[in-house]
Symmetry: C2
Subunit: 397 residues, 2 copies
């Protein structure tokens, strides 16, 4: 067994250094490594996390926010790397749906990510070499077990609520299935109980774009001082299209040209939508690691809750659950369409679970869950208020 010092000796990236300076972290798995689904025993490993608010005396007010693929633990504050506002600022803050005055809010950088938690950029404690592509493939369930280990470490027995959208919603479902007694309420938003063939296909395109970039160098780019920037940008551009709806793209950009009425008759960005996508691609490279992108997309591809926890039947993954569920989907989300949420609702009904479900009318596509959607806020506020009353959290103030 390795000592935590091995983890401390990681060569951190600038981004990780900045991230860790602004959040908390724990070294876990020293005595008891994390048994990953792939068979590898991972330990020690670091989890970086951020918290907002204070744990009450009963330890009954903890809320875990699970972040999506390209967000991280900086939910409601200026991001240490990008300087942008928190990604779920609209939901978390004084007077908002998740008020730190009432709840102890935690968000954990998922395993395999690149904002401080152990991932492919870290060093293998066994030999001190960077993991890169030798890092074990982690799953949504592995991420969730690392979060559970952090809660143990923090002495938090259970969660008032686990909430998240997209890949965050997958983690919420995994939490509810794997640790039903530790989850009082669960809010999976804009997600699915498994990744579809089309979604796997889009991820595969992104991975191929990264791995086709000669600067990727088999994943060893850090040692070579290169960055597979163009491949990662193409991966991001592809994914970004899937986050928006056709209607939103039409409304925001249509066929509007960069240069007024004049077509350029060339391959520069003629249309505003091209310029927008290129910008999305190039800025992503500044804040995200290419190998992490491979690992996190793989984790999403592998997610299939019915197969993993229900012997092929989703309802069985939730047998006997006492958790209160609230699902939200968006009409124009074609990455995780409403029918995926409805399938989860049906399974929860079959498991006699306490479940509510709202399909929010929106033309903003999958990204709607990150945006200003009053009906989503009202739904979450009402649901959490009811759950807080049931949990004896009162009005909180």
């Amino acid at each position: 067994m390795q000592a935590p010092a091995d983890i401390a000796s990681d060569e951190l990236t600038d981004a990780e250094r900045k991230a860790l300076a602004q959040c908390r972290h724990a070294i876990l798995g020293v005595d008891r490594p994390l048994a990953l689904e792939c068979g590898v025993e991972l330990g020690p490993y670091r989890v970086a996390y951020q918290t907002y608010g204070t744990l009450n005396a009963d330890k009954s007010n903890a809320v875990l926010i699970c972040h999506p693929l390209t967000c991280d633990q900086f939910v409601a504050e200026k991001h240490p790397v990008t300087g942008k506002e928190g990604w779920w600022d609209s939901l978390v803050g004084p007077g908002k749906v998740l008020d730190p005055a009432r709840y102890f809010i935690i968000c954990v950088n998922v395993l395999g990510h690149c904002m401080g938690s152990t991932g492919p950029m870290a060093r293998d404690p066994v030999n001190g070499q960077p993991w890169n592509l030798r890092f074990p493939v982690v799953t949504i369930a592995d991420m969730v077990r690392a979060q559970a280990a952090l809660l143990d470490h923090l002495g938090i027995p259970d969660l008032f609520c686990v909430i998240g959208g997209s890949m965050g919603g997958m983690q919420v479902l995994e939490w509810a299935a794997s640790f039903p007694k530790r989850v009082f309420s669960a809010v999976p938003i804009a997600c699915a109980a498994h990744h579809s063939a089309q979604n796997i296909a889009f991820h595969e395109v992104g991975r191929q774009a990264i791995m086709a970039d000669p600067e990727w160098k088999g994943g060893e780019y850090r040692a070579h001082g290169t960055v597979p920037a163009r491949g990662l940008a193409v991966a991001r551009m592809t994914a970004h299209i899937t986050y928006l709806s056709e209607q939103a793209l039409q409304r925001k950009f249509g066929r509007t040209l960069q240069n007024r009425d004049a077509l350029g008759f060339g391959f520069d960005a003629d249309f505003q939508v091209e310029s927008y996508l290129r910008h999305q691609g190039s800025t992503f490279v500044d804040r995200f690691d290419a190998n992490s992108y491979l690992y996190i997309t793989r984790a999403m591809d592998y997610f299939d809750l019915a197969a993993a926890r229900g012997g092929g039947v989703l309802a069985k993954a939730f047998t006997g659950t006492a958790t209160r569920f609230c699902l939200v989907s968006f009409t124009s989300d074609w990455l995780f369409p409403t029918r995926e949420s409805r399938a989860i609702v049906h399974a929860l009904n079959a498991a006699a679970a306490n479940v509510s479900f709202v399909e929010v009318e929106s033309d903003k596509g999958h990204d709607a869950f990150l945006l200003d959607e009053p009906e989503m806020f009202r739904t979450l506020h009402g649901f959490l208020q009811g759950a807080a009353n049931a949990r004896g959290l009162g009005n909180g103030r």
Copy 2:
């Protein structure tokens, strides 16, 4: 003005050589160059084309098939490069909807393509150097005018029918708007009167993938003896997802693994859908040119019939038309959804045109127009039979 000999001195690729050996071609624009929309006068230029059947004495039985992005003039025969059956074998042949015993069927390799017609791989007749990225950006209207010039060359005054799907459908619409008196009937299938923001976005991802490939070398890869294979493969993979429906991917592949029940916990193709996409990508490279891919996708992006021919109003592009139209769309086509066809139908109605429209129920996505879709065949058969009677083509046999 350059002599045709300049064209003959093109350094043909192997694929072009094989293509030209199996089809007809003409050198056009020697005396009167083609005035491209970008302002360049192109000439001389070569158009490669294939024909099936015989032109009747009245010259009244000519049918022009317009091919989509990645197909070509080999509609109904073994392809000279891939050895595969013709891409519209299901529609064209003895006893089929387009029977060579009845019609003189022509399909022209579009300008900018890579199966024998002049494109970025050809040599600029002015300086004898390969065009590559200096080839002028051509448009759908330019492609159509090159086809019209070929008809002039062949002494064919007008067409009984112009038919095509996807980019082929765009050409059909352009034909009907630009040369209404030369088009007796028009069949635009699974297309739109303009390329949407989302479709431009997907094309832009493909182009960025190609141009990000260092083997692309600013488009000069032939001189360097390289092929931007990985970039072109990623472009194809992205596009291929848009050609299929989510349902078709789910039905064909779902989450089925390559290796039975065992996840690989790595980045090889674990799921069948990944393996299928990789295959689509790698085989495409053998038959398509990367620069041509840039040019042809750009032509589609630029297509906006209302803006170009109707002063912003699509109906005005068809004012006074006597052409008979038949439109076909497919329920699961999300690249060119039914609402795009419906918008064309509305415009044709407003122009008091003779138009019929069928939305075919299919779960096969955009590619349905290339597949065995009995309802499409029945629709086209009925429409063409009526048009043939009106044209006095009788039963043809």
